[in-house]
Amino acid sequence: MSRVANEFKELTWQGLWQNNPALVQLLGLCPLLAVTTSAVNGFGLGLATLLVLMGSNITVSVVRNFVPNEIRIPIFVMVIASFVTVVQLLMNAFTYELYLALGIFIPLIVTNCAIIGRAEAYASKHPVKESAYDGFIMGVGFAIVLVVLGAMREILGSGYLFSGMDLLLGDWASVMTIQIFEPEQPFLLAILPPGAFLGMGLIIALKNILDPKMAQWFAPKITKNVERARVTTETNTREQS
């Protein structure tokens, strides 16, 4: 039992921090950079990606023993594409304005490398329960970055935070809009594409600063110890000294 618990702990650590699909693997950058002009856009796309990721991971894990190894990639892509279609139709039906705002980037979730990456690297080799959790936690890790980047650009660009949340969550959420400050003129750079790259770079830098502390506090203790001979010299030590 403790082995399974340990596995989930490890997955959480990997998905949210150590191996975060957006910050470390740098996968799915196209929607990440294009969509995050506001927190609600980031949240919407993050949610959609999360659903697709979970669905595809579960399905791939269920059929993993019947899929011939040679044609696994087309099959994974078809599984992912059908889930994306489902999510797209759902968003079209229930959150129509957000659907319009996200536009082409909902169907483009198919091409998000984070999803096929998890299907190939994890779900095709592990049982259903773990795969579902892996999809969930990787999706959450991706969505958090989307929301943080979206919020950052929204605050800098317009002074508001969580504006338009009612597009996603229903009318009650319009009270969530916070005005942080009233800009004399909007800082357009934050809204334009360069702002996405700059913001992403700053978030990655922040993660690198926090890395040692987070590892100290939250990293699961590694139980198995692998001995390996080092054949290359440690290059980092020389730079630090």
């Binding site: 004399e184 003129q185 800082f187 357009l188 750079l189 934050a190 334009l192 360069p194 700059l198 830098a205």
Partner: protein, 352 residues
């Protein structure tokens, strides 16, 4: 004891970074005086604000990076960046504009890449581009030459406009922008660009009253450009900068403008117009010659300068902005590694 071998030249001018940077600052003085004479006290206040922000930002970040703060400040590179940025800004732009721009130049473009010597891009120009893209309205609010303004302003007016948006006598920035005829006066580049876009010929656009002659000299703007040329020649004479970059930049402008003139005479600005307006003379001597972000080989420097001149005229003629030195420099900064790679000088004694 170490016996050190070094390659020629053995007898060279011993200037440290601080001295070089200070000399560039001094060379800006004639231009700044001309700018103040024609456009009022605003420029001086912008430069002072920029320098203050630059020193504060630089020391804060050097402190964070656990570097020697006083040495970092004393190389005057941050001061020079601030000076160059302050010169480029509209004289009465609001204070937060110059603060944001300078902070971006120093913190993001210079220090995040590793400080002086490691920045890929020209800090002042990226700061300028960021401001131009982010705040197009504030950045295009140039005020008219003071002797042609409806309501000229003094030092107190300038301070009050920059910090509150209204001058001491109650004029808003939009009112201070009015020319003597009650119309917001365009810069020469803007006047020609708008004229050409609306179907006038180039010689017809020169009827705008900012031009005092019919061969491309504009009142106020061209003298400022010439004052910077004077400073640039001072730098050349003292060997602070090499001739390669400024001369090739000017050559690029002349060739491109001349070629376009032959292709479509009177539909494009003349060679003198391109040289004498906007930031070409200032840029060629003070911006392009940045030793860090420019090319490092002599042949490369010529290519670098030529391309900047070429791109400037092309963007001015066909692009979305009236002036383009900043964009051209930033674009060519990206190309520097490639240029350097293909222009490695041959080692002395190497057989062909």
């Amino acid at each position: 004891m170490q016996f050190s071998l070094s390659s020629s030249p053995h007898n060279r001018v011993r200037r440290d970074t601080g001295q070089v940077m200070r000399m560039v600052c001094y060379a800006c003085i004639p231009g700044v005086i001309a700018q103040t004479y024609f456009f009022g006290w605003g420029t001086i206040i912008q430069i002072a604000l920029a320098m203050f922000t630059a020193v504060v930002t630089e020391s804060a970040i050097l402190e964070l990076r656990k570097k020697n703060v006083s040495r970092g400040i004393r190389d005057y590179s941050a001061i020079l960046t601030a000076l160059l940025l302050g010169i480029c800004l509209p004289p009465l732009a609001p204070w937060w504009l110059v603060v944001i721009g300078t902070f971006f130049s120093i913190a993001i473009v210079k220090q995040l890449y590793g400080g002086l010597g490691f920045n890929m891009f020209n800090p002042a120009m990226i700061g300028y581009v960021v401001l131009l893209i982010s705040f197009p309205i504030a950045m295009s609010a140039w005020i008219p030459v003071q002797s042609m303004a409806q309501s000229p302003y003094d030092f107190i007016d300038a301070l009050s406009t920059i910090f509150t948006g209204y001058s001491q006598s109650g004029y808003s920035l939009a009112q201070l922008q009015l020319g003597i005829d009650g119309i917001t006066q365009a810069t020469p580049l803007d006047a020609v660009r708008t004229g050409l876009l609306s179907g006038l010929t180039y010689s017809e656009t020169l009827n705008a009253n900012i031009f005092s002659s019919d061969w491309g000299w504009s009142y106020g703007w061209s003298p400022v450009a010439l004052a910077y040329l004077l400073g640039g020649l001072f730098l050349l004479g003292n060997k602070v900068i090499n001739w390669h970059m400024p001369i090739s930049t000017l050559a690029g402008v002349v060739f491109t403008a001349g070629f376009l003139n032959i292709l479509s005479p009177d539909q494009t600005g003349s060679i003198t117009f391109h040289l004498m307006s906007g930031a070409v003379l200032f840029g060629a001597f003070f911006i392009v010659t940045d030793p860090v972000s420019g090319s490092t080989t002599d042949k490369g420097r010529v290519i670098f300068g030529l391309m900047i001149g070429f791109l400037t005229v092309i963007i001015r003629t066909y692009g979305g902005y009236p002036d383009a030195i900043a964009f051209a420099v930033v674009i060519m900064n990206i190309a520097v590694p490639l240029i350097d790679y293909y222009t490695q000088p041959r080692t002395y004694g190497h057989k062909s």
